[in-house]
Each structure stands twice: as structure tokens, then as C-alpha cells.
């Protein structure tokens, strides 16, 4: 789970067994942010919400609290045969991943996933 400390600007995340200190990725993060900033000049991506309180308020309004609690699955529903996925399809999807896509919160990139399937043979 990613954790961000806005007070001192550090960001830490633990994804699976890998512990990432984003401060080490400062150069990468900056280039990603710059790219997004240039792509969408008014995105506010460089400022993480600071300086655009009206936009953060708009976002907040667009993400209401949960209106109805989600009912837990029943025993019968949990016991239904669950759909899985095919290894062949997964491999194909890895090879079809786009390069240079924006990363999510953990900074995991498609290139990291493509590396899984790389094989010198």
C-alpha cells in the first residue's frame, strides 16, 4: 500500500515484498510529472493539489461517500466456481502492453511487467 507524507514531501510504498523509496526515483518522477504537465498545461500535476483548491473541491464533490454498504457475499456465492485466467492470454497481454504509459500510485510501469516475460532464449 502506498503511503504519502505531504508534510515533508516523502513518499513510501510497499508493494508485495518490495519496499520503494520514491525519493530515490526523484529524477524519474519529475520527468513523468513534467510530461503530464506539458501534455495538459492546466492539470496541476506538478503541484499535487496545492494551488488548485477549487479543483480539489470539484473532485471531492464528484466522489461522494458510499451511499449503501456493500453486502457481504453469502456462503453460496463464495462457493461458486470462480473464473480464472489463461496463462496464454496473460502472456499475450503482457506483450501487448504499451510503452511509456503513465504509472499509477506505486510508480509500477508497464516496462516492469514486460520484463517478467523477457527471456534471452
Amino acid at each position: 500500500m502506498g503511503a504519502v507524507n505531504a508534510a515533508d514531501g516523502t513518499a513510501l510504498a510497499t508493494l508485495g515484498c518490495v519496499h520503494i523509496d520514491f525519493s530515490l526515483l526523484h529524477g524519474l518522477s519529475t520527468s513523468v510529472a513534467d510530461k503530464e504537465h506539458h501534455g495538459r498545461p492546466d492539470s496541476g500535476a506538478l503541484f499535487g493539489g496545492y494551488g488548485f483548491p477549487h479543483k480539489v473541491q470539484q473532485l471531492s464533490n464528484k466522489h461522494p461517500a458510499r451511499k449503501e454498504e456493500i453486502t457481504l457475499l453469502t456462503h453460496a456465492e463464495l462457493n461458486v466456481q470462480r473464473k480464472s485466467l489463461s496463462k496464454e492470454v496473460l502472456s499475450w497481454e503482457i506483450l501487448a502492453l504499451k510503452h511509456d504509459s503513465a504509472p499509477g500510485i506505486g510508480c509500477l510501469r508497464n516496462e516492469h511487467l514486460i520484463a517478467i516475460i523477457m527471456n534471452p532464449k
Binding site: 502506498g2 479543483k55 480539489v56 500510485i105 509500477l108
Partner: protein, 204 residues
């Protein structure tokens, strides 16, 4: 190549299987659905600027849910949605445009109206989506647990990027995740079920 490198794909596949079969603990899915949000303005000339949230999900989630929505599952959705909803089916835009044209040519007294559900994507109730999935049609029962695992957590949202990221003062707890693979299918599916709830057997 080391043995562990050689086994990387096999291990990743086993991991992906565990994810989609909901074999991992609840806190894992809370991490998995966290997203990073950007907020470019909707630049409509003359209109008051209104930001359009762009949610960028975890790369691994995009990959695994993409593989999960394979041709079989898409065909199942298309079977259900195809007769009425064109939003997600292949060639849907052409079917809609040509269908409307043919309908107007055949019956000139008909009219067309265009509507929009304000913020519908972010506000649709997840409980309604899950109810529609499981309790209305048996066809999607085998995907229920994974969809439940994705929708149950309230998703952490980070604003900005990299070291400048900050925690949003809200979470994504209702509606569908912008940009995620399953969202479009589920949103359109719910609209169909809401529309025909009185005629579909088993819906309550």
C-alpha cells in the same frame, strides 16, 4: 539466466490467478485499487471550467483485469448487453448511428433526444452493480467474487505525481473506477438491469 528468472512468468501467472480468484486477503485489494488522479479542465468555450477526473490505476491491475476479461467473458457480456446497449460492444457506435438513421427514415415522425447522467460514472452505487450481477443472471456468477473484491474497498486516491503526490481529501468509495477495464462493462450492465428490472426474472 537464474532459475528464479526462468520461473518468473510461471510465478506471476500463479500470483495473477490468486488475485482474480480472490484468494488474497482484503488488505491486498485495498492496495490494488488505489489510484492516482489528475484533473485537467473540461475546456468547453464559454462554460465554467469543470475538472474531469482522470484516474490512473495500478499497472498490474490494468494488466491482470485485461487478461481476465478474455474473449469468453466479453462474449457473455455482449450476449447480455447487445440487444439493447451499444456502449461496450464492438461496432457499437456504427450500430447506434446507422440504427437511428434507419429508424428516422422509416418513421419521420420520430425524434431523437440526447441525455447525460451527471457524474453517473462516479456515483452509481456499487451495491446495485453487485446485486445486478449476482442476483439477476446466473451467467456472471463466476465473476462475482473478483468484482466484489475490486468494489468493496474504498480506494485511496493520490493527487499529482511522484514525490509531489499528496493524499486526496476523499476516497473513491462509490461508482466505477475511471479507466479500469471492468468499469465500462459494469456501468453499462447496470443501466440495462435498471431499465429492465421489472421484466428480468429474479431481479429484486
Amino acid at each position: 539466466m537464474t532459475p528464479s528468472a526462468a520461473a518468473a512468468m510461471d510465478n506471476f501467472y500463479e500470483y495473477a490467478k490468486a488475485v482474480v480468484e480472490m484468494q488474497l486477503p482484503e488488505y491486498f485489494y485495498t492496495m490494488w485499487v488505489a489510484g492516482r488522479m489528475l484533473y485537467p479542465d473540461d475546456m468547453i468555450p464559454g462554460a465554467v471550467p469543470d475538472c474531469r477526473p482522470v484516474n490512473i490505476g495500478y499497472a498490474e491491475r490494468r494488466l491482470i483485469t485485461h487478461a481476465y476479461f478474455d474473449d469468453d467473458l466479453k462474449d457473455t457480456y455482449i450476449d447480455i448487453l447487445g440487444p439493447v446497449q451499444n456502449g461496450c460492444i464492438p461496432g457499437g457506435i456504427s450500430i447506434t448511428a446507422l440504427g437511428a438513421q434507419v429508424a428516422l427514415n422509416a418513421t419521420p415522425e420520430f425524434g431523437i433526444t440526447k441525455g447525460d447522467i451527471k457524474n453517473g460514472y462516479n456515483e452509481v452505487k456499487r451495491e446495485s452493480v453487485l446485486k445486478a450481477m449476482m442476483r439477476a443472471l446466473g451467467k456472471l456468477g463466476h465473476t462475482l467474487s473478483f468484482m466484489y473484491a475490486l468494489m468493496k474497498p474504498t480506494a485511496y486516491i493520490g493527487l499529482g505525481a511522484g514525490t509531489r503526490m499528496t493524499t486526496a481529501p476523499f476516497k473513491c468509495s462509490e461508482g466505477q473506477h475511471q479507466g479500469s477495464i471492468e468499469s465500462g462493462w459494469l456501468f453499462v450492465f447496470l443501466q440495462l438491469m435498471m431499465h429492465f428490472k421489472d421484466t428480468i426474472q429474479g431481479y429484486s
